[in-house]
């Protein structure tokens, strides 16, 4: 049991780190993007810019929530 717990804790520390909100915000953007573009035809380069902006926005939101919560 300890080994399983240690295994999951290791991956949590590795991927999530100190602030889970950043990982959650990035994962949310990527999952929504995946659902929206799933099965569509290849898009132009504008889509990359929109998605990049969404990632920046996700970081800003997570940092704001983090700081406001103290």
């Amino acid at each position: 049991m300890k080994i399983v717990e240690g295994f999951f804790r290791f991956w949590w520390d590795f991927i999530i780190g100190d602030d889970w909100k950043i990982a959650a915000a990035i994962a949310t953007v990527l999952v929504i993007a995946a659902l929206v573009i799933s099965g569509t035809s290849p898009a132009g380069t504008w889509l990359a810019i929109v998605l990049g902006a969404a990632l920046v926005l996700a970081f800003l939101v997570s940092l704001t929530v983090d700081v406001r919560r103290g």
Partner: protein, 259 residues
């Protein structure tokens, strides 16, 4: 190679601090066994995962997976850099980190397994494996992006050799390294490469599964770098106002330093 060297350098400094704390306060033999075991495990993981990733996954899926991890690592570092520069978090100090690790080591029990001090072994193993995994992902991303993984691996190995050499000579944490500044720069780099790759990799969900394209291809990484830099400078100014208690909650001296 410079990017890989710098990013890996910070990871190696952290790993060295952990091993030094265990070696100096408990058992050098156990700490070094932990280090060796972690390196073997890391080599095995890299070989197996590298083979599986390159041979079984489409390029876009690889970009999405590694880009996402790198983006999260980079943004964690950027968050810390913003909080430190705005005075909401104390500056990272390897000597302080060393003191905390050493204190925990002294307070830990005295369990012996396989003739080793188990606490030293486990903490060293985890520290090296965790930091080492980050180096592996950094090497893969920067290497594949530059179409030269061996050169990127060389940069990481050189950083490891420099840190190890300095650690062996000084036998104390590398507190003179401007780690906060380095981490800020590396956070910007990792966030830029991570965002670039994660977005390209999302193309795996489109018909055909080809990577998405950024305008200007690799040149857009510079655009991302500029964007993260500007956002971080803006947030350094803004977060003290967002914090509980407002700007008054931030130590005035620290705030002055940030401005």
């Amino acid at each position: 190679m410079t990017a890989t060297f710098t990013a890996s350098f910070v990871e190696f400094v952290e790993a060295l601090t952990i091993v030094l704390a265990m070696g100096m306060t408990r058992s050098w033999r156990s700490a070094l066994w932990g280090t060796g075991a972690a390196l073997v495990a890391l080599a095995g993981f890299t070989a197996i995962a590298g083979y599986a990733l390159v041979n079984w996954l489409p390029r876009s899926a690889l970009q999405l997976g590694i880009g996402t991890l790198l983006l999260i690592f980079g943004l964690q570092w950027l968050r810390k850099a913003i909080l430190r520069s705005s005075g909401l978090k104390s500056m990272h100090d390897e000597e302080e980190e060393f003191r905390e690790q050493a204190e925990a080591a002294r307070a830990a029990g005295d369990e012996q397994r396989f003739g080793l001090d188990w606490f030293s072994f486990v903490v060293s193993f985890k520290g090296i494996f965790l930091e080492g995994m980050e180096v592996v992902f950094i090497v893969i991303t920067f290497g594949l992006n530059a179409h030269n993984v061996p050169l990127a691996a060389g940069g990481a190995a050189a950083a490891g050799a420099v840190v190890l050499g300095a650690g062996a000579v000084l036998s104390k944490p590398l507190s003179q390294v401007p780690e906060n500044t380095l981490k800020y720069g590396v956070g910007l780099l990792l966030s830029s490469f991570g965002a670039f790759w994660a977005v390209e990799g999302l193309g795996v969900f489109q018909n055909g599964g080809d990577s998405l394209s950024w305008p200007g291809d690799n040149w857009s990484i510079l655009g991302l770098l500029a964007a993260w830099f500007l956002i971080s400078r803006l947030m350094i100014k803004v977060v003290p106002r967002l914090a509980k208690g407002g700007p008054a909650a931030v130590a005035p001296a620290v705030l002055e330093e940030a401005v």
